[in-house]
Symmetry: C3
Subunit: 332 residues, 3 copies
């Protein structure tokens, strides 16, 4: 380790991962760089440290099989143990308070609690209640930081392949986030992460699917005209459309949505050369994205899934490593 490394110490304390804002660009780079190293290792050496005495609890009050499994695989890669707490079949149903449920899981002695909940701010609250490290795996319409991190990681890799050299940051990259931004926890984390790395973000949606206010959001522009934006977009980030939102958006049906806001084959053809396509999944083929577009060479959708495991392993490794250092420091 050189002197410069010491100076560049991140201000993120690595106690929790609650929000992209906590990380700052330095923290984001730490996670991404560790993920790079994890993917570079041969499969038999994938784990930089051995956490087989650590336990990671996934505590999902909303269903999300893919996110939960991604964390489970990440923990397994670190040899950590995993405990799946299923809120559906738990004492939550018997009227136990959220705080008591989390305190109980904490008292079990787990090291990390990965939490998803329908209410914004639950992850921050949880971090005040428990001793375990908290990872926010989606709280209401607020944040979903590991999604943003894996997207940055995927984007950096793809740009590195295109340019032959890994970019330092995303300065000048023109990003359009398209779809149901109002109800998306992904959108907010995405905007924060992309803009922190220097990208210019435009939100594209029918106005009922835009946030009521974007004051304070670090964005370039808001638009309801995807056709206008598309030609100046280096990354088109498509969000999932949920059927039940269509009524609120005053769009008669999914066809109408696709017609104006779907990333159709025609629209995708109007993207600049080298432009990339992302989607957090699961995708609605033929609604927000055409099937051929989702499977096109410039679509990073499966790379996002693959990198999700790596990014979560990197985050878990940093949090577990920080806890270990703290315990060893306390013992000395």
């Amino acid at each position: 380790m050189t002197k410069t490394d010491v100076v560049a110490m991140p201000r993120w304390d690595r106690r929790n991962l609650l929000s992209i804002e906590d990380l700052r660009p330095e923290g984001i780079r730490d996670v991404l760089d560790l993920a790079d190293r994890l993917q570079g290792e041969p499969p038999t050496r994938a784990t930089p440290e051995d956490f087989h005495h650590a336990t990671v609890a996934t505590v999902f009050f909303e269903n999300s099989t893919r996110t939960r499994l991604s964390f489970e695989l990440a923990a397994q890669q670190l040899s950590a143990k995993v405990l799946n707490f299923n809120a559906d079949s738990s004492s939550v149903k018997k009227g136990e308070s959220l705080r008591d449920t989390l305190s109980t899981i904490d008292a079990f002695g787990v090291d990390v609690i990965v939490i998803r909940h329908a209410s914004s701010g639950v992850a921050v609250q949880a971090s005040r209640w428990v001793n375990a490290a908290i990872i926010n795996a989606g709280d209401g319409q607020h944040e979903h930081p590991t999604q943003a991190l894996l997207d940055l990681f995927t984007l950096r890799q793809a740009l590195g392949t295109q340019r032959g050299v890994m970019p330092e940051d995303l300065t000048g990259l023109r990003v359009a986030i398209v779809g149901d931004i109002r109800h998306s926890r992904v959108a907010r984390s995405e905007v924060l992460a992309l803009s922190a790395m220097g990208a210019h973000v435009t939100l594209v949606a029918p106005s009922p699917l835009l946030p009521t206010s974007v004051e304070g959001w670090p964005i370039e522009a808001v638009s309801s005209d995807l056709d206008h934006v598309i030609a100046n977009t280096d990354l088109c980030y498509v969000l999932r459309i949920q059927h039940e939102r269509m009524v609120e958006a005053r769009l008669d049906d999914l066809d109408a949505y696709r017609h104006r806001f779907g990333l159709t084959l025609e629209r995708a053809a109007r993207l600049p050369e080298g432009a990339l396509i992302m989607h957090p999944g699961p995708i609605n083929r033929g609604v927000e994205i055409d099937s051929l577009v989702a499977d096109a060479p410039n679509s990073l959708i499966l790379a996002q899934v693959r990198n999700g495991v790596t990014i979560r392993a990197a985050v878990l490794s940093l949090l577990l490593g920080a806890r270990r250092d703290e315990i060893q420091g306390a013992v000395k």
Copy 2:
């Protein structure tokens, strides 16, 4: 090992844990002492023996996430493998008999079956049907022995801290068990365990929530007047109240219950100095126990959860160890 140790050999055969009565005081002390050693070890040496070839199956015909997870964590601490059998989604639904279900799980070659079932006596029956060791994790309104063991362990620790020395037993300790004793599987195990260690137990409940007969229960008294009992109570063990029982108890509502039988802040203040509070969880704040009482320094509720994992690891270790000895004996 000294000669005395050999003489003090427990009469518990360590083949199953079906009831507190099987253990006798010697068996109880063996479990508690092993739990002490498990907690004393540094985290990297938590396991006295390595059971990574052993498999523990949790077979729950009634939901109890916290008990199941506690056993799962305990097995993980011993490096044993865990198999979760969810009766909800199993061939039980296809009309398979209980015996066939258990025989199938046994034929899988698991070493321990942790069973919970709505009918009293199922654990004993199961132990006759299978080769695996059976741990009773609650059978009807009969027993829940690991709950009683973890409570004894927690109590011994707390008294040890108070007195500066670990008590040999609980001689003279005045315990009030308060609440729905009739429908509680915890109550019976608790009474047996506490009295086996020398405590004096009083049951406190409205009469519809008392057992129809307490003949043969090793208790001091039965009362329906918590206010009378409270001043002479060294340990107030509060049971969970289930809404649906209120009708049977002819109490109009939960407020009425709280008024007469809840461990309110006012009542808790009338406990003797140094008195302790326990509850098996999950708690109904503001019903059987006030929120501030549950979180008070003399409440052992979270210690109970924490110790639950340790006690279950101790029980699993004893059962798995006995099986290993038997196999090795047979090979010789």
Copy 3:
């Protein structure tokens, strides 16, 4: 390894296990021989190779707790990691296509996908979509190859015990498969496996429960008269009867079925000496098989369950070993 071994190299490529037909007799023998070795090892050496960096995903679109747990235990025996994907609570419910779901799980980087699905042919399709090895754990009414393999293994063991020497094949063995053949995925795999090893198979069922055509099935005969067949049967393989099929079969009730097609105590007494009884489970005691028959010494039902874990460990070991060889070959 002798020269003969080299010549006898199986033509099965070990990339997937989709159908018994893929295996050919050589592949079947490879699986059975490896299973033999796995059972022969002392428990602490049960694993021929260590696959602790491998991940096996169970992806069940239809419930089958016993099959899923059997695979889970098998993977644990190899020290592989297990990921349970529950289609009920997944993005499948959000309308994701089967292909996208499988591609996502594949992108997680799992090595083997064990799939069960209500539609015939899904396993073959899946093998074209993903990079992971596919094991067909039941596709519609098509195949369930590991069930047939564990049955062959169990049968070979039992005949070996009877005869004092392990049989080379099943030449001349007279097998009756009795019950709902039309709707059974087991029946087809069973017929292919048994006949591949030289057995003579007769299908016995009321005609509505027979396949509409048995053209191309390698069977000896079809019968609706179990009483006629029973005296010439060395192995009576009883299938599970599902209540809802009775209407289609124009049988008023389960008693009527039992009367004509159940393996009752009376019928079982008419089996030739040394005849064996099998059933894939879960059994309906008193319907397709009498309770005393299921528990008789010549019933192999629990041995089937026990061997199921071993066979699946053998299959997983062969597939994971082939993948490892391929990776190492590619690296060289």
